[in-house]
């Protein structure tokens, strides 16, 4: 009743709004919001200056550069190749296509620890791929980047695929009739349709990579100032019994993730409005 009156924008004949939303809110509060608030509350015990000190030391800044930087670059690679994979899966047929299509979701299903030890083994300097490469991968920022590409892979593909499938062939044919070559058709007709989905997929992969721990921690070198990821620094603070410092860094990461996700959802909302659905 209460929720009905205050939140609903438009009257609806469907029942169950209060119950559904009420339960959902209760569940979210108990499992997510209240525990998360513990992080913020703990951080509030710090003064502003202490907070800045804890979250902006050179070592922490280096970890932000690695975590955010590697995540961004990994999401970027996934955006490019994820798009190609989605295109190839939607538009072409080739042997083992179904297997490849199913395999795309492997990073979703495979535990991060398993991925971690496998990747570390492969790219170590005596590993199956590492031995052929002239540069080091395991224990360097490059290794971190590889792990993040792995776990972000499905996001772009799965977000772009349905939209690509929905692209109306008639639009492309119309463009061809009007004299566009394939590249022009792609650039001016197809790509703009797919772009919101691509952006969403990129942002999702980015957000996911930011938080990743299990697969990265095996392959990262954990050298301060060079190859330490931010979650590791949170743990380091904890080990030094500096709970408030740990939560301070956690707050920075949470705010960044939240902002990213809000952006994604706004993007999706905008994309949906463009296609004429419920906002």
């Amino acid at each position: 009743m209460f929720l009905h009156k205050t939140l609903l924008k438009r009257h609806s004949v469907l029942p169950g709004f209060d119950l559904a939303l009420g339960f959902a809110l209760l569940y979210i509060s108990l499992i997510v919001l209240i525990p998360l608030s513990a992080v913020f509350l703990k951080t509030f015990t710090l003064t502003w200056q202490q907070f800045l000190d804890a979250t902006t030391t050179p070592r922490v800044m280096a970890s932000y550069r690695l975590t955010f930087g590697a995540s961004f670059l990994a999401a970027l690679l996934n955006a490019v190749f994820g798009f190609i994979v989605a295109w190839v899966l939607v538009r072409y047929t080739f042997p083992f296509k179904r297997v490849i299509d199913a395999l795309v979701d492997l990073p979703f299903a495979l535990p991060t620890a398993v991925a971690g030890i496998a990747l570390t083994a492969i790219y170590a300097h005596n590993g199956v791929l590492g031995q052929w490469l002239p540069f080091k991968v395991s224990f360097t920022p490059l290794g971190v980047w590889v792990a993040l590409v792995f776990i972000g892979l499905p996001f772009v593909v799965r977000t772009v695929q349905p939209v690509l499938e929905d692209v109306n062939r008639e639009l492309e044919e119309a463009a061809a009739t009007l004299g566009a070559n394939r590249w022009q058709t792609f650039g001016k007709v197809i790509f703009p349709i797919v772009m919101p989905a691509l952006l969403t997929g990129f942002a999702l992969a980015f957000a996911r990579a930011l938080g990743e721990y299990g697969s990265v921690i095996f392959i990262a070198g954990n050298m301060p100032m060079v190859s330490e990821i931010t979650p590791l620094l949170i743990i380091t603070r904890l080990e030094q019994y500096d709970y408030a410092g740990a939560t301070a860094i956690a707050v920075v990461m949470l705010v960044a993730s939240f902002a990213l996700l809000l952006l994604i959802n706004l993007l999706q909302s905008w994309a949906r409005k463009r296609q004429g659905g419920l906002a």
């Binding site: 300097h125 224990f139 100032m225 743990i235 380091t236 080990e239």
Partner: protein, 345 residues
């Protein structure tokens, strides 16, 4: 949640429980279970306590007729201490450094502040030291600490911020430098900085470093606990690695302690105390020596003299650093020497 072993013990425990009074068991909810202890320990002691627990359980049963199950938890020493502070119900802790056990007292009041005096030898029934593990044939000819700061030598050690073993490594190096440069702190810092300049990867724990060195083939020399080094050679092949003991090293004293608040609540004080005291008995010391820890008992030590390099000069943390509190503050806390070394890079 019980393992197969404790299921079997559970049945026998019921019979045993009828004989022994209920006063030996904890709150009513534990009435049907066998007596069980939780030993929260650090990483390298896994093998040691598998054997020790069996021996102590047999001894305890012979002595009191009670069936005992000892559960183990292993991890980085600091991480384990923190878990106990956060509520992991350890009956005993057997950690890598006294500083971590001190935290149980300071941060959570789980043990009294004078815990270390309650057992003999500063509550360290066995000791170890820091040695070098090198590849077979010692291709880089590493003999002592000076060789570690030479250019072209790659050193593997864990991160002192997260690993107790790494802190011992660090202080051993520092101690050597102090000794070499006549107690000059600035020169010692430069020495250790040069050493860390040769470190390619910092794992968060001692086992991680050992893996990096032995399995990933990284580095020319691993700074390791002596017992860990012996274990690596045994497990991974004496044809692959050898141990080099430096001229001077630190005497590492991993302490053990009963966690008062927990044992009083669970009613396991007597058995926990007996558990730790068993470490000091000849049988316990034998087991420790077999797992390459230096026993305190002189007779057992004499029997194992051939396995331990006794020529190495050992200094304690109290002698050179004034104890863990001072060492932690000067070197490993924020703004300490380790931070200085790393931000300068």
């Amino acid at each position: 949640m019980k393992s197969v072993q404790s299921d079997r013990l559970g049945r026998r425990a019921l019979i045993a429980a009828l004989a022994t009074a209920a006063t030996l068991l904890g709150p009513a909810t534990l009435a049907q279970k066998p007596v069980s202890l939780l030993n929260v320990s650090y990483d390298p002691t896994r093998e040691l306590y598998v054997e020790f627990n069996k021996a102590f359980a047999a001894h305890w049963q012979k002595k009191t007729g009670e069936v005992l199950g000892v559960r183990q938890s292993h991890g980085g020493s600091g991480k384990q201490a923190r878990s106990v502070i956060d509520g992991l119900e350890a009956d005993v802790v057997t950690l890598a450094l006294a500083y971590d056990v001190d935290m149980l007292s300071k941060k959570a009041g789980l043990i009294p502040a004078d815990w270390q005096k309650r057992l003999a030898q500063n509550s360290s029934p066995y000791t170890s030291t820091i040695v070098f593990l090198v590849r077979k044939g010692n291709p880089k000819g590493i003999e002592d600490w000076d060789d570690l700061v030479k250019p072209g030598v790659s050193v593997v050690t864990p991160n002192p911020k997260t690993s107790g073993g790494a802190r011992w490594n660090y202080l051993a190096a520092w101690g050597y430098a102090l000794n070499k440069f006549g107690n000059h702190p600035a020169k010692a810092e430069k020495f250790v900085a040069d050493l860390f300049g040769n470190v390619p990867v910092l794992d968060s724990g001692a086992r991680g470093s050992t893996m990096t060195f032995t399995e990933r083939g990284i580095g020319d020399v691993l700074l390791a606990w002596e017992n860990e080094a012996y274990l690596s050679v045994k497990e991974l092949g004496p044809t692959r690695f050898e141990i080099v003991v430096p001229s001077l090293s630190i005497l590492t004293e991993p302490p053990v302690a009963v966690v008062d608040k927990n044992v009083d609540r669970r009613g396991t004080r007597a058995v926990s105390q007996a558990y730790l005291e068993f470490l000091y008995t000849p049988e316990g010391q034998e087991i420790a020596a077999r797992h390459h820890y230096r026993p305190r008992d002189a007779r057992v030590a004499a029997r194992y003299a051939s396995t331990f390099n006794v020529k190495v000069k050992l200094f304690t943390i109290d002698e050179l650093f004034g104890g863990w509190d001072k060492a932690q503050a000067a070197h490993f806390n924020d703004g300490g020497s380790f931070d200085r070394i790393y931000t300068r890079k």
